[in-house]
């Protein structure tokens, strides 16, 4: 059978592979190459070695902290969003698995914002934030911290429903007998949570943590539409910083591409750690 199928390579695989080459493979490889070049389009490249990479941190012999700033701003943003989203969605999931009336309706409501895209979502909140803040003569981009918490609220609104769905599925998979047995042994609610529910939920917690982690790290649309990186590039997350370098300043495309390579490496490291953690968990079970 394998032999008969083998001949059909052009029909089965070729269309996907051609598109894959155009949409991913060639741009990726060429992107790495261009990060060592000075260019404005893809054909006028000039090899410059590592100068793009050094320009990320040093410009004309002076330290440029824009990228470093956006790096730690992104790290902090990711950390806070991971914590807030997971804690709240876990709490909601716990309460929505207690068989209360209207559970399905609540689940539907909480999940709805997740379907709305980042751009539309951001303008909804931009209107609300700015009209509330205008009472205090402030806007969402008054300081980088207004922008920070604004973005946190937006991503929470978007992702809590999503994570809640995953947590609900995880909680429902915990065998009822275990909880019953622990109750008979005299465990109180806190002990049930910390000794039974959370340990058994570790695979789900790992999934949700990494989903929120990569979502936070790669966030672009909300940052772009809500704050635009203002005030003065202070609220730029990494993805927007790369975009801004590439399209905002002429002659800096190479530096932008070099930043993108660093960004890719960081995201890849997160993904590898996740892969290691989830596969080792699977073995344990």
């Amino acid at each position: 059978m394998e032999k008969a199928t083998k001949k059909y390579f052009p029909i089965f695989v070729l269309p996907t592979m051609i598109a894959f080459a155009i949409g991913f493979l060639i741009p990726f490889v060429y992107g790495i190459f261009l990060s060592f070049c000075k260019f404005t389009t893809v054909v006028d490249w000039k090899w410059v070695g590592l100068s793009n990479y050094s320009k990320i941190f040093y410009v004309n012999g002076e330290l440029d902290t824009t990228f470093l700033h956006s790096l730690w701003y992104t790290a902090l943003f990711t950390l806070v969003s991971v914590l807030v989203i997971n804690v709240i969605s876990f709490a909601i999931a716990m309460l929505l698995t207690k068989g209360i009336k209207g559970t399905n309706l609540f689940r539907t409501a909480f999940f709805l914002p997740n379907l709305i895209g980042g751009i539309v979502l951001s303008y909804i909140w931009l209107m609300i934030f700015n009209s509330v803040l205008s009472n205090y003569s402030k806007t969402i981009v008054s300081t980088q911290w207004y922008a920070f918490w604004g973005m946190i609220i937006v991503v929470c609104w978007q992702q809590i429903g999503y994570m809640m769905i995953i947590y609900i599925a995880g909680i429902q998979n915990i065998p009822g007998e275990l909880i019953e047995a622990a109750k008979i042994d005299g465990a109180n609610a806190w002990q049930l949570l910390t000794k039974i529910t959370i340990p058994l939920l570790m695979p789900t917690i790992t999934i949700c943590t990494f989903l929120t982690l990569t979502n936070g790290f790669k966030l672009f649309d909300q940052n772009f539409a809500l704050t635009g990186g203002n005030p003065a590039k202070q609220s730029q997350l990494l993805a927007l910083n790369i975009y801004d370098t590439m399209y905002g300043t002429t002659g800096w495309q190479g530096v932008g591409q070099a930043k993108a390579v660093i960004f890719f490496i960081l995201v890849a490291i997160i993904a590898l750690v996740q892969n290691k953690m989830t596969t080792s968990k699977e073995v344990e079970q």
Binding site: T16, G23, I119, K218, D221, Q253
Partner: protein, 301 residues
């Protein structure tokens, strides 16, 4: 199974179910309130959107009931914002492009990627292994890494139109789709296909008549995940498409903001409502599939 579920739910059952229902009703309403605030303001005059977005009147109630009631008339402007917004963004055209690109991409991704996944699971050689690894690899690469080169190549290859962008979406979305399909195909027993082949089916016939119908659950999952991605995507189409000619809905929303940062908030509110309504309708119709799809996607991705 259903008996087991019942037992579980009695064990977990909350003591104060009634109070929790009330609390959650309030929280749920607050949770989707922003959408209703936008809906309310989409009918209000520009000038009154920011002065008091949560009120239905132009005048505060503290100034007396009569003036408050008169303020309601003053604040609302009927469908003016909508006609304004539709004209400014050419909304129905954008909606058409968004729909065409999303439906086209999803169909093409499902067809091509499921076929590709079938081939690489059933044929074992170095090439198929490499293809599988590349697909896995592409899933961890952020779009920023390829955005510049991809948009320039798309330009050179004349893919800067709604038809061409489908090819780009197939290429960039192939990783996830192939990964999900291979996961499922591995679990199908090969005997059914062998039987079909012995009965005289060619591999193509076997695929379309036997394998594709079995793939239905994964097909729905992939369709939901890719549709959510493509419909809401902003950066890729804004870089790949010829923006002067073709705008999708997210691009139209973003471009209501003018280059100097000024926004016509009346039109913006109306466009946001117009952008949300199709999503809500889609959600209500396909809710079950969406939640299942998201779940399957999250656990595997």
């Amino acid at each position: 199974m259903s008996k087991g579920d019942k037992e579980v739910s009695t064990i977990r059952k909350a003591k104060h179910g009634g109070i929790l229902t009330v609390i959650f009703t309030i929280i749920s309403i607050l949770w989707i309130a922003p959408i209703f605030v936008v809906l309310l303001n989409s009918f209000k005059r520009k000038a009154y959107i920011f002065t008091n977005p949560f009120s239905i009147s132009a005048v505060s109630i503290s100034k007396g009931f009569d003036r408050y009631m008169k303020g309601i008339d003053k604040a609302f402007c009927g469908l003016l914002n909508y006609s304004n917004a539709i004209e400014k963004t050419n909304f129905f055209k954008c909606f058409g492009y968004s729909l065409f690109i999303t439906v086209g991409s999803v169909l093409v991704i499902i067809l091509c990627c499921s076929m590709c996944a079938y081939y690489i699971t059933r044929v074992h050689n170095a090439l198929t292994r490499v293809i599988y690894m590349l697909c896995l690899f592409s899933m961890i690469v952020p779009f920023q890494m390829v955005m510049f080169t991809l948009s320039k190549f798309a330009n050179i290859l004349h893919l800067s139109n709604p038809m061409g962008i489908i090819v780009v979406y197939l290429g960039f979305g192939a990783g996830l789709a192939v990964f999900m399909f291979t996961g499922f195909i591995k679990s199908i027993s090969i005997e059914i296909e062998e039987a079909a082949m012995i009965d005289g089916c060619t591999p193509i016939q076997t695929y379309f008549k036997v394998v594709l119908p079995i793939l239905k659950p994964t097909t729905i999952t992939v369709a939901i995940l890719e549709a959510m991605w493509v419909w809401n995507d902003y950066l890729l189409p804004s870089l790949v498409l010829n923006i002067n000619k073709y705008k999708t809905i997210p691009i139209a929303v973003q471009y209501l903001k003018q280059s100097h940062g000024q926004i016509d908030w009346g039109a913006m509110m109306a466009v946001l409502v117009l952008a949300i309504v199709p999503i809500v309708i889609f959600y209500i119709i396909c809710q079950k599939y969406i939640i299942e799809g998201v779940l399957a996607g999250a656990v595997k991705g």
